[in-house]
Amino acid sequence: MPEYSAFEMIAFTGSRQLQDNKIVFVGTGLPIIAAMHAQLTHAPNLYMIYEAGSLAPILDIGMPLSVGDTRAGHKACFMKGLCAVFELTQRGFADYAFIGGAQIDMYGNISSTIEGNYYNKPDIRFPGSGGAGAMAANCGKTIAIMALEKRRFCKKVDFITSIGYGDGSPDYREKAGVMGAGPYRVITQQALFGFDEATRRMKLLEVKPGFTPQQIQEMIEFELIIPPDVTDMAEPTDEDLRLLRDVIDSEGYFLRRVVKK
């Protein structure tokens, strides 16, 4: 297999979750790359929503560097503003939310507002919900990209910004007044997670070749559901890497980023 980076694995795995003939509401960075990769491979009729206001752009003048990038409107079918595209989600036209966050719990609740428990004077203040809270509420299914670390996969998140299955009770989302089905996939470099239908708890679906389910569990604070049929994550081929590196993120804004610890 060719050598690939963590970001490339995440983008490739993200792409695999997206079906053709669907609409994905994308967040900045890897979700955009994953969706572009899907369009170039197995899902040519997959389209994106960008929250500043565009539906189904054709991104042939370059990858948008952010969801507000003017390039994200290029050759769109429809372009209005934030209200219009979020109302597409409320009406049920957006199949996937593709978001990220700082912490996630076993029910897929995600924090991207604060770290620390005191809202008015937090230990760390993040940018805030942005579109994520609304996307997780009202797109069909939520896909999240996370870094697999114990402090991020925690028993309780400090602040629920993007709703998952709440406390896991069957009517949590209904009582919350939201419309989407909820968490669907969580993508990390080392493992792919889904959610158990009966308990709504996070379960391991695939591990990166070379890892065992037990090693994944050790990087997580809460107890994972580990079914007997965990499979290996597919790895990007030379052609996938060519698309990611030379066609989609040719300037290396996201895939060649150096992560500061």
Partner: protein, 354 residues
Amino acid sequence: MLGPVSSKIKSISKVKYDEKPFEHWGLTSNEVRKITEKKDHGLYDKRMTLKDAVAKLVKDGINLGVGGFVNTRVPAAIIHEIIRKGVQNLTLSFHSNSICLEWLAGAMICYPEKVSIKRVELAWWGYELIGIAPLWRYLVQNKIVETDDYTNYGMSVRFKAGAMGIPFIPVRDHGGSDMELVNRGKMIECPFTGQNIYLLPACNPDVGIVHTTAADMYGNARIFGALCTCPEIAMASAYTIMTTDKVIPTDTIRRYPNLTEIPYVAVDAVVEQPFGCYPGACYGYYWFDMDHLRMYRGICDDFRKTGNKDGLKKYFNDYIFGCETFDDFLEKTAGYKKLRQLRELDGGQPIYTL
């Protein structure tokens, strides 16, 4: 009596927060209507200098609605003029924004006697790819400003409710998240379906600030590219200051009235300011200047890490207080070659100003 009810968020939330009785952070729908009723609603020439517009409309204690989205079509020139004039006890209302807010925050940190922010109602404050917003982090972690968190849809639709002249609007998000507990929305039982539904208070700023692709002298404006929430902000605000990259004839507006995204009645000042979003982008005209955004963000991050204000003060002295107009700023920072390059980077996105 229906509601208030709640989701099950309280059973799982870890968050502690200051509980406060509800208060309006801007005007009520009735108050903003009264102001509007007293205005002249005829067509008159609203062109003026940015200095005059800001001097006339930006007063201490106002709620300022900020248009654009992160680095796109942000009202950069207007923010500069607001900082030069000075304003105290601002409430900032916006969905997602970047350098405009970091400029205001930097001004407050260096020159508190000139600029101060009291509270912020928002969805997101940062630079996306370029990084977190250092001054936002500084202000909140030190409890210097009061905050109220919504989603991007939440803030946008609060402006929309403001634009509709209604006091609140039901939405399908926020419920079941900690925003349900900490923000000023309320869960009720829907009187028609019996299901829980979240209500958000309308947002009617005292002053809205927006930049548009093109407008006539009365304020009829066209916007190309994503509209963000600029039409709603302009319609919701008691007064709107608009910069535009190009003033166009009213005959042009009247030829295609469907292309008018903001009608003249919602606008109080029209200022032609080419590159008025710089270092932000304006679809069809110029892309954002990553170098300048990174440079200012770096200065702010140095302050956050060291507490030393020298770099920030130098930036303000060189680029804001040291400039009489936004044209001076463009000349000092970008210059012709950079602006030309940003125009090329836009890729010639199609706009229509004829």
